[in-house]
Amino acid sequence: MERLPHDPRPWPARRDEALHDPVLQATLRRVTHRLNTARIQAYQNYPAGAEARERAKHRKREAVREWEPLLAQAEQQITAHGGQVFRAATPGDVGAYIKKVAQEHGVQRIIKSKSMATEEVQLNAQLEATGFAVRETDLGEYIIQLAHEKPSHILAPAAHKNRQQIQALFRETVADAHDVVSDDIPGLTQFARQKLRQDFLSADMGITGGNFLVAETGTVVVITNEGNADMVTTLPRILISLVGLEKIVQDWDALIDIIQQPALSGVGQRLSSYTTMISGPRGPESWEGPDEWHVVLLDNGRQAIHDGPYQDVLACIRCGACLNVCPVFQQVGGHGYGSVYSGPIGTVISPLIGGMQTFGELPRYLCTVCYACQEACPMDIPLPEQIIGLRSQAVAEDREPAAVRTQYRLWGQAWSTVHGYRRSVQAARIAQRLALRHVGLAAGWLKTRKMPPVAARTFLEGWAHEQRRRRRA
């Protein structure tokens, strides 16, 4: 089984599909703009949040650096509270373990709250292949599960669909969906609420991800806005939490500093609507919570990242801020990346988890090195530098065709001198006049881009002309 699922279509195909999808374009623009503005305002109006971020970022880096003793401590705490811990090296290990637990307990119906780790290991496909019914309960995830698609944004998985498409989807795929008479958004949401209610109440097993794992107390923290993780943790008798190794934080104080950051950076709220903290299964005296709780700690390449030059990326809290500011993401959306992890963070971790062979094209082509992500990231992860590092590696490992390389080399040489650059402007002017749009590098480039006309006289040329005129005068 592959380390990380990928879309087998080549990048140009994914790119062009995204650029020619007007619904995607409109929704992406709206969603990213709204989230960006909200993030900036949230920190501005809340200095305590900005101060906590400074502390959180240092402590998170430290926790990642020394994670082995912390993971051992978390494991010991969870076990002491009656939970069970399993370390999964691969996606297959996760699937096998959860299937075993489900079979032992005669589980039939499984409900899930949103978790990128479960997308990474393709948990639904693994469980469904064995005959378990799995239901995604986050509204966006529910929609893409019905459509058999992958998330297009780590926070808003169905950001690429509009209300009419969702109405049509419900009608086609959900029983009794004739009552979905209108395409208004509250109505669609209510319909999903009713349908998912039945799933919540009849499920035997719940699966969550985890935003943080506190070593000191063995607590898994799950953050949502919809309240579905609360249902998942409160109602079914068996609970599984799939948590990446990098979710570890040292202690309760470290949690206090970091707990607001995903909401502040992700959606511009001081805290998400629901934060659930699980530290053990239900005791005999308690009414709610699971009878059994299993924490699955996911490696899947994380230890290797930890031991290599990109360790800092493990401090990521998956807030999505870097996606929202990225000019490439704003154009092509999550599906353009062909990985469940998209945007700048996906450009770094997809090749690190899934291999350069498959995901080398992400650092190579899907970054303009504008540094917007670096500025937005609450954990100050040096994403652009990491992308450049991976880009060099990709280029060194996997060569472009000779003709393309020669063109880039000549271009690089030409622009390395002032005269070369000026001559290229003159050449472009001539090429433009001759309508030479379809040769060499320009051919692919201009398929989905507009080439701005080269000025009849550039600023520099005008300036030089003006200088000469003054000297003469």
Binding site: I185, L201, T234, L235, W252, S273, T276, M277, G280, E285
Partner: protein, 193 residues
């Protein structure tokens, strides 16, 4: 400098929650009756409530609910049923769930609930309206203070839930909709009992 109560009220409302400031002179029962009458759905005339020991004393819950045409279930009424029956048959069909709160935080507009023998988190989750009875003294100025209190007691409760406003989603076209899985309305009644 804001009083925690004022700041909590501002933040909770900002998130889409409602606040009722109860006045001892009016009587807690009166205020609670008013609040319940305003949120009860006649099609589902059931109220479930779990007293953590910090509710105002001497509120005649059953009688009070009767006057607004609803039936009241507390922990003891539900204990005679299996957990599954209680959840599916009663709590899932109630239109109002009433709980207390372990504490609240003003700067984030957050209410904290712990699962225990006395409290049921389901009352805060399944019904379309959640009413929180919050004594003034339980409101901290900041979330950080509240969270420190969770740990200060020694062991962390096995299930802690922080609620900051109603359940919401922006998953369709980025438009905010309240009440997707959890309650649509969250009403906090604050008083000095």
């Amino acid at each position: 400098m804001h009083e925690p109560v004022d700041l909590f009220t501002t933040q909770w409302r900002l998130l889409g929650g409602e606040v009722v400031l109860a006045d001892a002179a009016v009587g807690w029962s009166h205020t609670i009756e008013d609040v319940l009458a305003g949120v009860i759905d006649p099609a589902f005339p059931t109220v479930v409530g779990f007293d953590t020991g910090d509710w105002p004393k001497d509120v005649p819950w059953s009688a009070l609910c009767e006057t607004i045409g609803a039936r009241f279930y507390d922990r003891h009424d539900l204990d005679v049923l299996s957990r599954q029956e209680a959840l599916q048959d009663i709590v899932a069909h109630a239109s109002v769930g009433v709980t207390g709160a372990a504490w609240a935080a003003a700067d984030t507009g957050t209410v904290a609930l712990y699962a225990s023998a006395q409290t049921s988190l389901s009352a805060s989750l399944l019904p379309p309206t959640h009413v929180v009875l919050l004594p003034k003294r339980r409101i901290y100025a900041t979330l950080a203070e509240g969270l420190r209190a969770v740990h200060a007691q020694g062991a962390v409760p096995h299930l802690v839930k922080l609620i900051s406003g109603p359940s919401m989603t922006a998953d369709i076209e980025g438009q905010l909709v309240v009440g997707v899985h959890g309650p649509r309305r969250v009403v906090t009644v604050i008083g000095d009992w």
